[in-house]
C-alpha cells in the first residue's frame, strides 16, 4: 500500500467508479441522514439536542423499520409487497381481541402474530413465485383482505387492558448516560422500547443474511436478472417465494411491535404504512428494479422519514399537510438521485 499521492487519488477515483450501486446509494443516504439530523439540531435547538427525542423517533418507527426491512427483501428480488400495512393492522387487531376479550397469554398472542404474517407470506409468495402473477395485484388483494378482515374481526378500535401485556408494553430499556433533565430539573434516563431492540436485532440479522449467505446473494441475483439467475442454477421460484415469505413474517413481527407500541387494536392502524415502508426502502437506496439495495440503508431511510416529521412538527409548520409535502419532496429527491446513478452506470459502460 505504498503509493505516491497521484496513484492513491487515482485508485480512489477508481474505487468510486467501481463502487457498486448498492454501496453508492447507501453512502448517499447515510450522509443525507446525518446532515439532516445535525441540521435539525442546529436549527431546532433544545428538543433535538436531547437524545431522548432521537430515541422517541426510534420508538415510534420501530415497527416501520421491520416492515421496511421486509419490503427491502422483496424489492431486492425485483418484487413488491403492499400488504404489510394491512397485515400490521390485522395482527394488532387479532392480538388485541385475543388478549382483551379472551384474556389469552402473551406467548400465544405472539404466535398468532407470526402465524398471520407467515400465512400471508406463504400465500402471496406462492401466487407470485409459482403462478407468476403480478406481485402488485396479488399483494393489493392481500392488503384489501387484511384491512377487510381487521374490521370483520372487530369494528371498534379499543385499547388492551391486559396486565401482562401492558407490563411488556411499559418495559423500557434504559440507556445510561444519555438521559436529560426535565423542566423541574429531575434527571431521567433515556430509554427505548423493546420493540426497538427487536427491530435493530432484525436489521443486523438481515444484514448478515443478505451479505454473507448464499440465500442473500441469490436474492440480489434474482433481482438483477431473473433469466440469468435461472441459468446460473439458482432456484428462482423458490428464492422469490422465500423472499415473500420472509416479508410476510417480518410484517407479522412488525405488526406485533406496532401493537406493542400503540397497545390497541383498530382498523385504521398503520394506514399507508406500506407506502411509508416502500418510501423508506427507496430513500435507503433500494431500487424497485431489483438487485440493488441494503438493509442498513433502509434503517436510515426510516429514520430520515421520522426525523423529517419531527423537524416539520417542531419547526412551527404546524399544519398537518407539511409533513406529507416534505416527505414527498424528500422521496422525489432520492428518486432523482437514483436515476442519476443509473445514468452514471450507463455512461461508464458506454
Amino acid at each position: 500500500m505504498s503509493q505516491n499521492k497521484t496513484a492513491v487519488s487515482g485508485s480512489f477515483r477508481d474505487k468510486v467508479r467501481n463502487l457498486s450501486d448498492t454501496n453508492l446509494l447507501l453512502t448517499i443516504t447515510i450522509v443525507a441522514f446525518f446532515l439532516m439530523y445535525i441540521g435539525a439540531v442546529l436549527f431546532q435547538g433544545e428538543g433535538f439536542l436531547k437524545p431522548q427525542s432521537f430515541f422517541n423517533i426510534l420508538n415510534s418507527q420501530a415497527a416501520l423499520i421491520v416492515l421496511a426491512c421486509g419490503l427491502t427483501l422483496v424489492m431486492i428480488n425485483g418484487s413488491i409487497d403492499i400488504s404489510v400495512g394491512g397485515v400490521t393492522a390485522l395482527v394488532s387487531m387479532c392480538c388485541a381481541v385475543y388478549l382483551d376479550f379472551h384474556g389469552g397469554n402473551l406467548v400465544v398472542s405472539l404466535l398468532i402474530a407470526l402465524g398471520i404474517g407467515l400465512a400471508f407470506g406463504i400465500f402471496q409468495g406462492f401466487l407470485v413465485a409459482y403462478l407468476d402473477i403480478q406481485p402488485f395485484i396479488v399483494t393489493l388483494a392481500g392488503m384489501f383482505f387484511a384491512r377487510g378482515m381487521t374490521t370483520i374481526v372487530n369494528t371498534k378500535p379499543f385499547n388492551v387492558a391486559h396486565e401482562g401485556f401492558n407490563e411488556l408494553k411499559m418495559t423500557r430499556v434504559k440507556i445510561p448516560g444519555l438521559g436529560s433533565t426535565n423542566r423541574i430539573g429531575v434527571y431521567v434516563d433515556a430509554y427505548v422500547e423493546i420493540g426497538v431492540v427487536v427491530a435493530l436485532l432484525i436489521v443486523i440479522a438481515l444484514f448478515c443474511v443478505l451479505r454473507w449467505t448464499k440465500l442473500g446473494r441469490s436474492f440480489y441475483a434474482v433481482g438483477g436478472n431473473k433469466q440469468s439467475a435461472l441459468m446460473l442454477g439458482i432456484n428462482v421460484k423458490r428464492t422469490k417465494f422465500i423472499a415473500h415469505l420472509m416479508c410476510g413474517l417480518l410484517a407479522g413481527i412488525g405488526g406485533y411491535i406496532y401493537f406493542l407500541h400503540v397497545g390497541s387494536g383498530s382498523a385504521t392502524h398503520a394506514v399507508g404504512a406500506e407506502m411509508d415502508a416502500i418510501a423508506s426502502s427507496i430513500i435507503g437506496g433500494t431500487m424497485l428494479t431489483g438487485g440493488v439495495g441494503n438493509i442498513v440503508g433502509t434503517l436510515f431511510g426510516v429514520m430520515s422519514l421520522g426525523t423529517i416529521q419531527n423537524i416539520v412538527a417542531s419547526a412551527g409548520l404546524d399544519e398537518a399537510w407539511w409533513i406529507g409535502i416534505t416527505r414527498a419532496a424528500m422521496l422525489c429527491l432520492f428518486l432523482v438521485i437514483q436515476s442519476l446513478v443509473v445514468v452514471r452506470k450507463k455512461k461508464s459502460k458506454g
Binding site: 447507501l26 435547538g45 437524545p51 378500535p157 385499547n159 444519555l178 400503540v262 419531527n310
Partner: protein
C-alpha cells in the same frame, strides 16, 4: 475493495452516531441547567423578555368543520399578544401521533399540554410522564379513561346531555305533530365508535328511547363522523328499510351525507318532508340546511373551547383550583327559530 469494507464502514458510522448523541446528551444536560427561562427554546418566539406561557396543543385532526372551528378558536386565543406561545400538532386521526406529540411537548418543556384524545384508553404512560415532568395536562372535547389525578381537568361538551335533549326534543315535537302514539322507526348514524361523543349521545338518546314503547331503533351504524361515510351508510339504510321516520345523525358532516343520500333516493326530509332529521354540532352549514328546511333540529356542541381553556390556565397561573370537569355552555336550534338572525351572529 469498498464493497468488502462496506459493512465495517457502516458499523463505524452507527457507532459514531451513538457517540454523537452521547456528546449532544452531555451538552443537553449542561444546557438545560444554565438555560433557566424559556426564551432560548423556540427561535421564532419574540425575544422581548416577556415570560410567555408555552402551550402544546395536540389536536385530533381536521376532519370536520367543527374540528376546524375549535382549532381556530385555540389559534385565535393563544397568541403572543395574549401572552401565550402555542405549539400546535395535528395528529391526523392517529393515537400514535398524539402520543408522539405529547412526548415532544414534554421534551420541549412546555408549560401546559392541551390534549383532545382520539380514543379513550392507552394514555396512562404518557400522562404519567407529563406528571413526572410536572406539566399540567388539560383535556378538551373528548374524554379518556385514566386515573383522574394524571390530568388537571377536562373541558368539553356534555354529550350525554345533548343526547338526552335530542330525545326530549323529538318527544314533544312528535306530540305537537300528534304522532306521539304512532310507531316511530329510527335509524342512527353513529360517530367513530367508542369516541366520547358517540358514546354520550347514543347513551343520552337511549335513555329517552327506552321510555317510549312505540319508538323502534331499526339500525345503528358508524358513519365515522364523515360526510362520505354518512352518505354510504344512509344509502345502505334506505335500500334496506322501506320506511324510516327519524334519522339521528351524531354529527353534522354525516347529516349532510345522509340528506344527500335521502334526496338522491327520491325521499324528502325536513319539516315538510317525510323523514325527521336530528343532528348534532350545529355548524354553520347545518343551520343553513335547517333554513332550507332539510334538517329539523340541531344540538350544538360548542367548538369554541379555546377561551374556556385560556380562562382555566389563567386561573391555574393565579394558583386557583379548577373543577375536574368543566362543561361549556351549549344551546340547540330547530327549524322554528329565526335562523337568519342566528346565522348573522354566529362565527362558525
Amino acid at each position: 475493495m469498498i464493497k468488502r469494507y462496506a459493512g465495517l464502514i457502516i458499523m463505524i458510522l452507527l457507532i459514531s452516531a451513538g457517540a454523537g448523541l452521547m456528546f449532544f446528551g452531555d451538552e443537553a444536560r449542561e444546557g438545560s441547567e444554565n438555560i433557566s427561562d424559556q426564551e432560548a427554546l423556540y427561535e421564532d418566539m419574540p425575544q422581548d423578555g416577556k415570560d410567555y406561557i408555552v402551550v402544546g396543543f395536540s389536536q385530533i385532526g381536521a376532519e370536520s368543520d367543527w374540528r376546524n372551528a375549535s382549532t381556530e378558536s385555540f389559534r385565535s386565543v393563544f397568541t403572543t399578544e395574549n401572552g401565550y406561545y402555542l405549539l400546535y400538532e395535528d395528529a391526523q386521526q392517529k393515537q400514535e401521533n398524539q402520543l408522539k406529540a405529547v412526548r415532544n411537548f414534554i421534551l420541549q418543556e412546555v408549560d401546559y399540554i392541551v390534549l383532545d384524545p382520539i380514543v379513550e384508553t392507552g394514555w396512562d404512560t404518557v400522562l404519567q410522564e407529563a406528571k413526572d415532568a410536572n406539566i399540567p395536562v388539560i383535556l378538551v372535547d373528548r374524554q379518556l379513561e385514566a386515573d383522574s389525578d394524571l390530568y388537571t381537568c377536562w373541558v368539553g361538551s356534555d354529550f350525554k346531555e345533548e343526547g338526552r335533549l335530542a330525545g326530549k326534543w323529538l318527544e314533544d315535537y312528535l306530540k305537537r305533530q300528534e304522532r306521539a302514539k304512532e310507531k316511530i322507526r329510527i335509524v342512527t348514524l353513529q360517530g367513530t365508535p367508542r369516541s366520547s361523543a358517540q358514546l354520550g349521545r347514543t347513551e343520552g338518546f337511549q335513555e329517552v328511547l327506552s321510555s317510549h314503547k312505540n319508538w323502534k331503533m331499526l339500525d345503528c351504524q358508524s358513519g365515522e363522523f364523515t360526510q362520505a361515510k354518512g352518505q354510504e351508510v344512509m344509502e345502505g339504510f334506505l335500500q334496506k328499510y322501506k320506511d324510516i321516520d327519524v334519522v339521528i345523525s351524531e354529527n353534522d358532516n354525516m347529516t349532510f351525507g345522509a340528506v344527500e343520500a335521502i334526496e338522491t333516493a327520491g325521499k324528502t326530509c325536513g319539516p315538510k318532508g317525510d323523514i325527521i332529521i336530528i343532528s348534532f354540532d350545529a355548524v354553520r352549514t347545518a343551520l343553513q340546511y335547517m333554513q332550507e328546511g332539510r334538517i329539523h333540529a340541531d344540538f350544538e356542541c360548542n367548538p369554541m373551547l379555546g377561551p374556556f381553556v385560556s380562562n382555566i390556565i389563567r386561573r391555574l397561573e393565579a394558583g386557583e383550583e379548577v373543577e375536574k370537569v368543566e362543561y361549556v355552555k351549549e344551546q340547540y336550534f330547530d327549524s322554528s327559530m329565526n335562523l337568519s338572525r342566528i346565522l348573522g351572529e354566529r362565527k362558525y
